[in-house]
Symmetry: none
Subunit: 209 residues, 4 copies
């Protein structure tokens, strides 16, 4: 009973610590330079031990991503559940959840961005790709529902809620993409400013007229 649960919990903790180590290394050197060796060192384990918990390097990344993505899903779910209360400010709540998602753990967010590229997805084994897909789909559907609510309530312009969700979401993605690019170019960026302007544009643009 208790013993089994403790074991399970310990195993989960160990897994989590590997995931953490992986994301730390990723933050420093990027996906390709993240070797099993480095993850192991960071997690203070041996390389072989990693394989006790995850079958491949990509599995580590996908799990890290999915677990983060679940957190994002929770944010969205919360917004949806409290939609009535925040009615008028629902777009802002929505947009803010993106920002929170990013700010809480930009590393994982970037890993997500990276793995969702065609190149990466295509090279992934079926099962991992499906995992990503599923976790993405959940969030996608939540976004759609929130948009749908806004449309139904006459807050947003009348349009396809899915396309609307995608438009907002991709606007956010693009901003992060550019942010990363600029960072790598050692250029200053003004993330908050861009976020704010984008929010304004979108908020006004999608408002019912």
């Amino acid at each position: 009973m208790g013993i089994k649960e403790r074991k399970k919990r310990e195993k989960d903790e160990r897994k989590a610590s590997i995931l953490n180590a992986a994301m730390q290394v990723y933050a420093e050197v990027g996906y390709h330079a993240t070797t099993m060796e480095k993850i192991a060192a960071r997690a203070e384990l041996s390389r072989a031990t990693l394989y006790l918990y995850f079958k491949t390097k990509d599995e580590i990344f996908v799990h890290a991503i999915v677990s983060r993505s679940d957190y994002f899903g929770d944010l969205l779910q919360y917004i949806y559940d409290h939609r009535e209360e925040s009615k008028d400010r629902i777009f802002d709540a929505f947009w803010k959840s993106f920002r929170t998602f990013y700010k809480v753990d930009p590393v994982s967010f970037n890993a997500t961005l990276y793995f969702h590229q065609g190149e990466m997805l295509r090279s992934l084994p079926e099962d991992l790709r499906l995992m990503l897909d599923r976790s993405g789909t959940r969030n996608y559907q939540l976004m759609c529902r929130i948009m749908e609510y806004g449309i139904d309530e006459g807050l947003f312009m009348d349009c396809d809620p899915r396309t609307l969700a995608e438009t907002v979401w991709t606007a956010f993605l693009g901003i992060i993409h550019l942010e990363n690019s600029k960072a790598a170019m050692s250029r200053k960026n003004h993330l908050e400013m861009t976020w704010d302007l984008a929010a304004t544009l979108l908020r006004e643009g999608m408002a019912r007229r």
Copy 2:
């Protein structure tokens, strides 16, 4: 002399054909699976010959990208030069240039997207990174000028033109990113629809009120 020029022209042609080959292979298998071997085969050359024209694999990609980017710059320049004529429809012209850029050569566009990721940029040698930076900057400045024009003319809301340019551009980038992701997941997408909605949102959102 004529001879020297012919030589130069031939060399340029050969370079272009390598660039082409590289993009073709990239289209089929992605960046990492694009080996020098495959590029060489496609260009009907030997691997070693590639090195007579480009110092590294990444140099090939960067040149390919930059040359495409220049084409994009021309589109933007044209819009700017004819800004008076298309005054009222300037946002649409702007947005359409993005679509054209993508549609004329989606492969290069994607390569560009790929190389502008933090991960890629960071692993690039200084000179190549600079090359990308410069070619990006030119376009960036053109975008800014167009936005500036719109603001000054009272067509767009009053805001920082650079931030505005980025916002629009990143909205486009994000859409492509998602498009690729969906393609790799074998999911249907509705690129045109999303493009249209995004254009509507942005056009309205940034309009002077």
Copy 3:
């Protein structure tokens, strides 16, 4: 005490069940693919437990082989003990004991064949090699005595009994070797036919003239 004996008996039974498990796995996947993990699973034990009973993987195999080899020794001993009765048919009895040895447990026979290769033997620690050697020697000596009897009785041609024993034994080994080879090549074989012809040849060839 009874308790001590029971413990001992239980331990022996456990050992035997591990040996069995090992041979089962070996039958399915061969020596190298036989991992401790698989043996453990088959024996319904954990990997680490195996090491309570046997020091190494090879020790398991050697024990399995030796125990089978003892059974073969018994067959030979029986023939020797009843040599007078089967006098005229002693070669056939001898040859038949080989066939029985093989047919009763082809898996162990093959494991034996495998371990008696130079490659395997050389990589074995001294003690295990000695174990194999000893168990082989016992049978070898029995074979020699049987041959000696045949020679002394004027049944077989006059020659060195050891060389004769080896000749017959190796003829058998070779047949099995080819049998396995053919099986792996998915070719039909005619084991019985070859056995019969070999027996005929040898019987006639070694008969006193």
Copy 4:
């Protein structure tokens, strides 16, 4: 023309030298301890270069084996072509070709023996297995024809020539197998004596009566 041929010849020589190196290492440490690293060192090449000539370690071995096997085929072919001349002594010529095969290059012979085990064959990729199969088949058929000739000429007893060929061949194999085993056990062996006795037994045993 000439240049192409020289290149080809050089490439073949390089291949042969790799094969040689591999067999040398194999002779010293056996199949499993033969690493690409060791082969490369012996051939005075880098590990990667090996992969320029052979796709895998097993491919090296199979090629080495097959090339040896071809030599054996030549021996057999010669016997068959000169069957009339050696008529009465055809069995001895046959048997002697086995001995020659072994004595000229015992290392390759043993590698052959090793690879023709079920375990090895089963783990080989289809193409390599086929290669071994084909080269074995050629020799097998030659053996059969020689046996057939002996039977037709009334030299050998009337029986299935294929079974006869196998019986003789496996008798030889078995002797080598035991020889290796004894060598690994640091036991003296009397290869020649056993060969002679086996030859006698078989010659007499298969003689027409």
